[in-house]
């Protein structure tokens, strides 16, 4: 089975405190720790496991800048067979539909049976996979937390729905699936693994290689534009316990007792 995984490099929110720049036009990006978007990492692992079971190759692709090559390299160290970096100034300011349009052009240059994305990225959009499927006219499923190959032309999948229940369906190939975290245990990649794939060339593609004419992607085509960032309005806020550690613990125990938290 030929599998494509669409990935994105994002600031790791578990490692970073996100702050705004003084103009409110962006978050402060200097010094942020970037990594592969967490659900995308699960998608790469899932693709590798399916490829190992069914035969076939895994390709990883990202739309971004030169600095995004590191996550492609990392995916190759995990075992992806090939990668592609899509970079073009013309793509700047693309909304979700723009990114999906770019990826569609890339998909049509290959011959993929299965396309995976992470369920959502740092912007919480959860949109590119579903849009890509619609543009390709492929079936789609989101929040996928298990995949089983049932025969050459079909998969049995599970979606995570409310309350931790699972919705089981059968889906025809080719299809697009957005992968939920927890579907597998992504393998560890060490520096040694990354060094081993350091010299493998990763092709770069732009608008002309993808046959995308001006105005079909980028800011001009975007129906949705981010105007600014701002801090969420403060709620009433917690009463922050201050003082020495001992004082804080005494106060907390008092509060827990008063509210029935110690039994």
């Amino acid at each position: 089975m030929e599998i494509l995984v669409c990935v994105k490099r994002v600031p790791d929110t578990s490692e970073n405190e996100i702050e705004l720049n003084s103009a409110g036009s962006d978050v402060k990006r200097d010094g942020l720790v970037y990594s592969i978007n967490e659900p995308d990492n699960y998608a790469v692992e899932e693709a590798l496991q399916i490829a190992a079971r069914s035969g076939g190759k895994t390709t990883v692709v990202t739309v971004g800048g030169d600095e995004d090559e590191e996550i492609l390299r990392r995916a190759m160290a995990m075992g992806a067979h090939q990668a592609a970096l899509i970079v073009d100034e013309a793509f700047g300011g693309s909304d979700g539909a723009g990114i999906a349009t770019i990826l569609k052009a890339f998909v049509q240059k290959g011959n993929y049976d299965l396309i995976l994305t992470g369920v959502q990225a740092e912007d919480g959009g959860a949109q590119v996979g579903g849009m890509l499927a619609a543009l390709l006219d492929y079936p789609f499923a989101s929040l996928v937390n298990s995949i089983e190959i049932i025969d050459g032309g079909k998969l049995k999948i599970s979606r995570e729905i409310e309350g931790g229940h699972k919705e089981i369906s059968e889906i025809d190939l080719p299809c697009v699936l957005s992968i939920q975290t927890g579907i597998n245990e992504p393998r560890y990649v060490g520096m040694r693994g990354i060094r081993q794939v350091a010299s493998i060339p990763i092709p770069t593609l732009g608008a002309s290689e993808l046959g995308l004419s001006a105005g079909t992607t980028g800011g001009a085509a975007a129906k949705v534009k981010r105007m600014d960032y701002f801090m969420p309005p403060l709620g009433k806020g917690a009463e922050m316990l201050q003082g020495s550690r001992e004082e804080i613990i005494d106060k907390l125990i008092e509060l827990l007792q008063a509210n029935g938290g110690l039994r």
């Binding site: 981010r226 709620g235 125990i253 029935g260």
Partner: protein, 331 residues
């Protein structure tokens, strides 16, 4: 003004709570708006849900089709593309169904799509000004969305307060014939109910809940020891389950269990809305987090900035000391 529709999810003949919230969201787009409810389904459950909505919607479009008896987004999308007038705005709850349905629907409608909308600040020319969150709720953004070709907006559950309900005596319009033939390339088979687990956290009055801040599987014991001292149960947020440090039945949130304790001690939990949505009944909420800007501090009653790995054992020890002391007294 563009016609506004609200996609209503329903179960067992009752409309979801989001039905009233979508009316509120529609009025933020246009204060004079009277949105049209649109429902898909089959049989008496669908009819009952449509009937119930007559109290809050002036017009209800019903799409009945045997294939829609189970709401599969792949089929619902086909039906909606055919039934919705071009240029419409469609509001959809941002849940597992909305995530499945809406991005592709917007492409098929050639309309704009905005996900997880939590505020609507009105219309500026051909654009809507919306509020979203990024980076797990750490920052908000204003988003401008061109609605000249219509839009699909996924609305965060709970973000819009339902308006005072004024009975409107709505009209149910049967649009089933416009849906046409529906072909499924994804076929629903069954729903597998989540396993119950050894402890039912939904019934526990005191919960010690751990998040990503617990850092390693070995550290889960620190929370277990504290919970034991407090007479509480341990639960967790999603990343802890994804990392296989705790079992799925212990997870609180939209993709886990809903809990309603008296006291909730959130340890190393950032406070994503998906987690908070699983905590009901306004418990006394204590947050312990090393990041003073963690969103959880906005909703907690009491906050402590501390390193969990130090703080939890100190708290456990102190509780033990007190229990020993009072044990001596009573002896």
């Amino acid at each position: 003004m563009t016609r506004i529709f609200a996609y209503i999810t329903h179960k067992g003949g009752a409309a979801d709570d989001s039905a009233a919230q979508l009316v509120a969201a529609a009025r933020k787009i246009d204060p004079t708006a009277s949105p049209t409810a649109i429902l898909t389904g089959w049989g008496s459950d669908l009819d009952a849900a449509c009937d119930a909505l007559r109290a809050s919607y002036r017009e209800i479009w019903k799409i009945a089709h045997e294939a829609l008896a189970y709401s599969s987004a792949e089929l619902v999308r086909q039906a909606l593309v055919r039934v919705l007038p071009p240029g419409s705005i469609l509001l959809v709850p941002h849940d597992h169904f909305g995530i499945d349905l809406s991005p592709g629907l917007s492409v098929k409608m050639k309309a704009a799509f905005v996900s997880d909308v939590l505020g609507i600040e009105g219309v500026e020319g051909a654009c809507l000004k919306l509020v979203r969150q990024e980076f797990g709720g750490q920052v908000n953004t204003h988003v401008r969305c061109d609605i000249s070709c219509g839009a699909v907006l996924n609305i965060r559950p709970g973000a819009f307060k339902p308006p005072e309900s004024v009975p409107v005596g709505g009209l149910v319009v049967d649009k089933s014939s416009e849906a046409g033939a529906l072909t499924a390339r994804r076929r629903y088979l069954e729903t597998v109910v989540a396993e119950a687990g050894d402890v039912d956290i939904s019934k526990e009055p005191v919960l010690v809940s751990i998040g990503r801040g617990i850092q390693e599987k070995e550290n889960v014991a620190l929370a277990q020891e504290l919970a034991e001292a407090m007479g509480a149960a341990v639960c967790c947020s999603r990343p802890v389950v994804d990392a296989k440090w705790m079992e799925r039945p212990r997870q609180v949130g939209t993709s886990g269990r809903t809990v309603k304790p008296k006291v909730y001690l959130a340890c190393g939990i950032s406070g994503a809305f998906q987690h908070l949505a699983g905590i009901r009944g306004s418990p006394f909420l204590v947050a312990i987090n090393k990041n003073p800007k963690a969103p959880i501090f906005q909703v907690a009653d009491v906050g402590i900035v501390a390193d969990l790995l130090e703080f939890l054992p100190q708290l456990t020890n102190k509780i033990h000391e007190m229990q020993c002391a009072s044990g001596k007294k009573s002896a």
